[in-house]
Symmetry: C2
């Protein structure tokens, strides 16, 4: 009985079944602190206070650990989108807010976002990690759900919702990707102009997709 006397009263659930969660939550911090390139399994293990081989008791390999982190990321993304839906009743307003929320998630968690999408081996892990597909599908479902309400309200033209969803997803995903890799200032510098702040550029892009870039007087 002398082992871990206050274990259940204090935190130290480590070594008692919580190592897996401790690794994932610490990985989330470490990822944003150091960046994905410097993220190392050995560093993670030492920061959580275990040997560098300990993670292998809970994950098959490094990519499996990262897949679990990505799942967490999709839940987090879902929370961002959910909030945008809740806070706005007007469908068109929901469209802009959801887009902005999506971009905000990406810019506030760049390393996590890159892991979730530009994950090199993640596509392979997706079959092994059904949660990874489910979490991603849930986020996409919130997007098409919002578009469906816009369509029913008569604000959206007729057409396949999945097609619309894919286009919007590609747009916001592209916005995040360009922003977090620092291509925004580049786009401004490239020619001569100023595209204003990043937020303005995002909003303008979202409205561009909604209203179209073409001259409305044109057929």
């Amino acid at each position: 009985m002398k082992s871990c006397p206050v274990a259940s009263l204090v935190k130290r659930t480590y070594h008692h079944g919580d190592l897996r969660n401790a690794l994932v939550s610490e990985a989330l911090k470490l990822l944003e602190e150091q960046g994905a390139a410097e993220f190392t399994l050995r560093d993670l293990a030492s920061r959580v206070g275990v040997s560098h081989a300990a993670p292998y008791s809970h994950f098959e390999d490094k990519t499996a650990l990262l897949a679990a982190v990505a799942v967490e990321g999709f839940h987090k993304l879902g929370a961002y989108l959910e909030q945008a839906v809740q806070e706005n009743s007007d469908p068109t307003e929901q469209y802009v807010r959801m887009g902005e929320a999506y971009v905000r998630f990406g810019t506030e968690n760049p390393a996590l976002y890159n892991l979730m999408f530009t994950g090199k081996e993640l596509p392979e892990q997706r079959d092994k990690f059904p949660e990874l597909n489910e979490a991603g599908s849930a986020a996409f479902g919130m997007l098409t759900g919002m578009l469906g309400r816009m369509q029913q309200s008569g604000f959206l033209r007729e057409g396949n919702l999945d097609g619309f969803g894919f286009a919007v997803w590609a747009l916001v995903h592209g916005l995040v990707s360009l922003i977090i890799t620092g291509r925004v200032e580049c786009a401004g510098d490239c020619v001569d102009g100023e595209i204003g702040t990043t937020e303005e550029a995002v909003r303008a892009s979202l409205l561009g997709m909604l209203h179209g870039l073409k001259n409305p007087l044109t057929a």
Copy 2:
């Protein structure tokens, strides 16, 4: 005179000043064959027939080598876009073709594309490699140039060309990124629908940005 008797007649320009180019061109092949995750400097060196330390005579480190490869990638992307412009005179047609050409470049060179954009340390290298900025700016310039012609022809609404360019860039970049990470089938599976082939989804997205997703009868 007994050193390299037929050097100038046969290929073997290696060891005679061509190592740098040999490394870059071999890296382009190796990148698509093995994928970025498995791309190793030692493997590259051995495939080109030199010791694993030889590349350091021409590049400061691995990322500097990759930056040179990325520059090559931007030139290649420029060639794709240039062709789309040349082959079409109608501005609106150029818009769709350029977008499709951009996506085709990405899907045909996924590892190279990822290196060019989701490059982790590339942003830092961009200051050290002015070519990297120039090559990227040239591609963006072709995009805004095309949009400018559309605007002058009256097909595009009034507005900041850089802003339009950024929105279109984000869209095609997002399309490429989602496609090469295998998210397209996912989007189709997620809900219930079929968004058709990838090519159709790309075209629909491009036209969506041009004409807008909103109901044209709506204010």
